[in-house]
Point group: C2
């Protein structure tokens, strides 16, 4: 299995810079400290997942492209793969849980991908997608357990470093980032070698946090609590991402649903940004005081795909 | 009275580029046509008004700065003046209507400005502010009837042209922009000499549209209908802005409250952006079909300061 490399992240950053403008890097004051917030929610698909999907699909051979791709995703990776596939003329089939946000399902459909639904709790998306890929001779595009995907997600770090450098600012010494399977955080660990990496998960879904603390991969607890962070409900991380984070001595924290909602309201009021719950966890860790920022902290606002009714409910629960 | 000039807009653009990063220019597909949407809602104060306020205040002499500034505003100009005043160390007093959105009042207060409230319908903000400025020897900073303010707002056009040029794209041949007093639209008319200028107002508040059609300034009708566009409730435009738009043969359209709400929901779903009603009118004109875009259309998403309860209500009225 090929492992993600720093060189691969650099290559991904160059490839992505040629097709997508940099997302904005906002100055956000949190308890008197200014942190740098990278608004990946403003990508064309509303999430950072466009990066890894583009790097993976654009690296496929002509023959592989002709056989199509299959992916499994709760929605953001689905839209990333659908976007890249449309742009490259590749047929894409996505296996999605049937309780995925309508916004994510519609976004994926609008990009021309075929969607197959499965039950989140009883069926394994991974197994269904793998079987489908094998049956069709298509390439499986995992959402995090893939060298190209990790490298692609890491390009956000290169982009942020470039934006800080253009302003005469030093590289971050702390990166605060959400974690589902660890693709984004592992990519950032490669992109930002001078930074302490802090991953953030929803309470009860903090398997990467516990895995990093124990030094071995541990799955999510049985019967985990409900979380609004549909994008972060990964049951078990992969050695590919875990090993990178472990080698960098990354640590994790868990945030509550109330922390996440407060962060979503903060982004609405202070930044005029729509964030989905999973896209707000890193900001929530800072706002709640669970992570104390340095003067050189980079935080990723990773996604903003959320149904209108759900967002309205969060806004009114002040 | 000094009139705004193209040279002044260029100077404003240079000055503003030295303190504020460019706001994103998004590709937005509307009925099969890609238009370029400039997200001024992502300015630090959540609206384009930071531009004119900065250009006006940074152009004051040392003596003028020491005597402070006074402004009248429903909220976005207030925050722009407060932001620039704080950065330049100038004392700022703002006269605001007592029904201004709480988000705008709090934003202005957080920037350290003194606020005086007045009744929107019975008291004249302009008269109160002018009297206060005279009494204190302070400089009055009008929200649109001022050469520096118009030039500052026009800098958004220079910035958009630069962003399009960097992508190898031609200058816009159509600019669609909201209109309250006409500061932003007149500035854009100076910045984008090759473009047809289309201003957009809420129904019943379309005084600039009627003025341009008649060739003379006409006030808002008596007892205008309620509009959610608090930022666009100017009762009468000024010769300073009107003459520029008239000379460029600008025309206007009016959008309904339903058009505006649909545009706000579109921005939420498709762009992950929070827009206030007045900030969404130009987009509403395109989405509703009241303005048919060319292949080179620039639309300004001018502001995103709105109370949570109001935004939630718009999201749930699908």
């Amino acid at each position: 299995v090929r492992k993600p490399t720093v060189k691969g992240v650099d290559n991904a950053a160059k490839s992505i810079a040629s097709i997508l403008p940099p997302t904005p890097l906002f100055d956000v004051e949190i308890n008197g400290v200014t942190v740098f917030a990278k608004a990946e929610s403003l990508q064309p698909i509303g999430a950072f997942k466009i990066r890894g999907a583009w790097h993976r699909l654009s690296s496929l051979s002509k023959e592989e492209r002709e056989s199509g791709v299959v992916a499994f995703s709760s929605g953001n990776h689905a839209q990333g793969v659908a976007w890249a596939a449309k742009r490259l003329g590749i047929a894409a089939t996505i296996v999605m849980p049937d309780d995925a946000p309508i916004a994510k399902i519609q976004g994926t459909q609008a990009l021309g991908a075929e969607i197959l639904f499965c039950d989140r709790m009883t069926e394994s998306r991974e197994v269904i997608a793998a079987a489908l890929a094998a049956e069709r001779g298509a390439t499986l595009v995992p959402s995090f357990d893939d060298a190209w995907v990790v490298e692609g997600q890491g390009s956000v770090g290169i982009e942020a470093l470039d934006q800080l450098a253009a302003r005469g600012l030093p590289s971050p010494d702390m990166v605060v980032v959400c974690c589902g399977g660890g693709g984004l955080s592992a990519g950032l660990a490669l992109a930002c070698p001078a930074a302490r990496i802090i991953i953030v998960e929803p309470e009860g879904w903090d398997d990467m946090t516990r895995s990093l603390a124990e030094g071995v991969i541990m799955p999510v607890i049985d019967n985990p609590p409900h979380t609004a962070c549909d994008a972060l409900q990964t049951k078990r991380v992969a050695p590919l991402t875990f090993d990178i984070l472990k080698a960098r001595s990354a640590t994790g924290v868990a945030v509550s649903e109330a922390d996440v909602e407060a962060a979503m309201r903060f982004a609405f009021t202070q930044l005029q940004l729509v964030l989905e719950p999973g896209g707000a966890v890193a900001l929530a860790a800072l706002l709640s005081g669970k992570v104390v920022p340095t003067e050189r902290t980079l935080v990723i606002l990773s996604g903003g795909n959320i149904d209108a009714a759900q967002f309205a409910a969060v806004l009114t629960r002040t």
